[in-house]
Amino acid sequence: MSSLLLAEQVLNGLQLGIMLFLMAAGLTLVFGVMGLINLAHGSLYMIGAFAAAATAAATGSFFLGLIAALAASAAAGALVEVTVIRRLYARDHLDQVLATFALILIFSEGTRWVFGSFPLYLSIPPVLSGPVTLPFGIEYPLYRLALIVAGLAIAGGLFLLVGRTRLGIRIRAGESDREMIAALGVDISRLYTIVFALGAALAGLAGALVGAIQSVQVGMGEPVLILAFVTIVIGGIGSIKGALVGALLVGLTDTLGGLFLPAAFALFMEPSAAASTGAALSSMLIYILMAVILILRPSGLYGARA
């Protein structure tokens, strides 16, 4: 196996990890601040992708599509928070799982109704198309590299937002003691709507960015949602740092496992059997990783409480 291939796969793993982080950050913020499990987070990802694809098709501009994705997913998030999610904060996790599962049905079928069953396509903007040559002669698609850079910038911005701004202070205060900050005069329900819309916007942005690599279709949010859940469970629910570490771990494990496992099995099995066993196992690898981490640390790598 060449080192070039390895470098390319590491970059692919990073790219997947960074996109997962955008998904996982919203999930973990909403859980950390409001104690809510949101299964419909994948629907917000889908809404972002559809908004971007439809806008880009109408205007011819990828970047207008991105803005539309942010706006549509944030608006959908705020709307859902005000109409449904707000009633679920005080409920147990079972009610939250069910109500947000119901939202998935509504969003998926609603999108199918509006856009039909056929996938939409969102093309990579001309500025970012084509390969780029990195040091050591690594050829890599410019768009994917841009995803990594943009994702890292957004991650940095999010850490600054939560760590350094007034809104961030309120978010963190809301995490530890919601009665106290309500008593200090912070409008808690507006804060919750903002946090939810922020998480939704991040998911929508991820959907739009990934939508240019894959096709945009109904149901695209669910596989990513599951990966994002694995990510935050590994990182420790409620921890943004954990979400980043977990996302990179999951991204790298998933891409590198697909590369190494079949090769590793080929050392002592027939090639065809090694390929199928390796493929089957590598698709399970991140779940095995999650199980192992939970067995060692039941509340995840950076989790504060079980």
Binding site: F31, I37, V84, R87, L88, H93, L94, D95, V97, L98, A99, F101, A102, L103, I104, L105, I106, S108, E109, G110, R112, W113, E222, I226, F229, V230, V233, I237, S276, A279, A280, S283, M284, Y287, I288, M290, A291, L294, I295, P298, S299, G300, A306
Partner: protein, 327 residues
């Protein structure tokens, strides 16, 4: 007689009367729908032992449903092609006999539930939900990427498996079989809820520390409940695969876990007949709404949302008021 008992009796009567009417009126499609209700209700009865009695929110019961399905698919496909499953260390042949398939499904899903439960029950709350979901997905991806039994395309079985003394190809006879299994599972669940084990499990759900203080192990109680729960859902999977004469990775998908959970909640969590009411309502909605619009799941989603937000007791809860659950 409480209102809940009247409702239970009415559900039972409907389970017997509707298919008999359909048989007399020669409506095999309605008998098939009733069979689907009975089998999904059976899966729900299984989940309800973990969910209602044990308070364990498992979002991975599709793993057991799918294992039951694949137990049937694998055994029957080997019998169909006259190739043994394995000839070392002992010769194991495929089979078309339902009792053997059921025993295999019970054993496979029971072992899986024991292993998954032993790991998952180390966590609680939202971590438990997520780890069960992840284990379910693990089976899903395995089934998709394992080509030996159809991979992504699934595995068709051409002739329904046999049961001694019955012609299972006759819809009403197969329905009778499914109903008998459902009734046995309901009787088992009712017995379990009233047994010392069920009472301790219920207590562990409500007051974990007190149960520990009297010297019982909540972990062991929950693990046993989770295992029994997985076994019943696995049995339902074997029957469901036989109903469709087809298994596919979709049985393992997390949407399947979600649907089993939905029907339990729609019917009423922790109510003995909750899964029966829920399965009947679910299939009825699917048929009625599906006939009106291709986008019927929007309506299903809205109904589910309204149930969760405004009628937490589900159907049985609405009908029976606040009676003591699970009796």
């Amino acid at each position: 007689m409480t209102r809940e008992r009247i409702l239970n009796a009415a559900l039972l009567a409907a389970l017997v009367a509707v298919p008999l009417w359909a048989w007399v009126a020669d409506e095999p499609f309605i008998i098939t729908l009733c069979t689907k209700v009975a089998i999904l209700a059976l899966a729900g009865v299984g989940l309800n032992i973990a969910l209602g009695l044990g308070g364990l929110v498992s979002l991975g019961h599709a793993a057991f449903f799918g294992l039951g399905g694949y137990a049937m698919g694998i055994l029957a496909s080997h019998a169909q092609s006259y190739t043994p499953l394995t000839d070392w260390p002992v010769l194991i042949e495929g089979t078309k006999s339902m009792p053997i398939i059921w025993a295999t499904a019970l054993a496979a899903s029971g072992l899986a539930a024991l292993a998954i439960g032993a790991l998952s029950l180390r966590t609680s709350g939202v971590y438990f939900i997520m780890i069960t979901l992840a284990f379910g997905q693990m089976f899903f991806y395995f089934a998709i990427s394992w080509p030996a039994y159809g991979g992504e395309d699934g595995l068709p079985i051409y002739v329904r498996n046999g049961f001694p003394g019955l012609n299972t190809l006759d819809p009403i006879q197969f329905y009778g079989l499914a109903l008998a299994v459902l009734l046995a599972a309901l009787a088992f669940a009712a017995m379990l809820a009233r047994s010392p084990f069920g009472l301790s499990l219920n207590a562990a759900r409500q007051a974990h520390a007190r149960v520990e203080a009297v010297g019982l192990s909540p972990y062991r109680l929950r693990l046993l409940a989770f295992t029994l729960s997985g076994m019943i859902t696995g049995l339902a999977g074997a029957l469901y695969a036989d109903l469709n004469r087809f298994v596919s990775p979709a049985m393992f998908s997390w949407q399947t876990s979600g649907e089993i959970m939905i029907l339990v909640i729609l019917g009423g969590t922790a109510r003995l007949f909750g899964p029966v009411a829920g399965a009947a309502l679910f299939i009825l909605l699917e048929e009625l709404l599906g006939g009106v619009s291709d986008y019927w799941q929007i309506a299903l989603g809205l109904i589910l949302l309204v149930t969760v937000l405004f009628a937490p007791g589900g159907l049985v809860g609405i009908a029976a008021g606040k009676a003591r659950p699970h009796v």
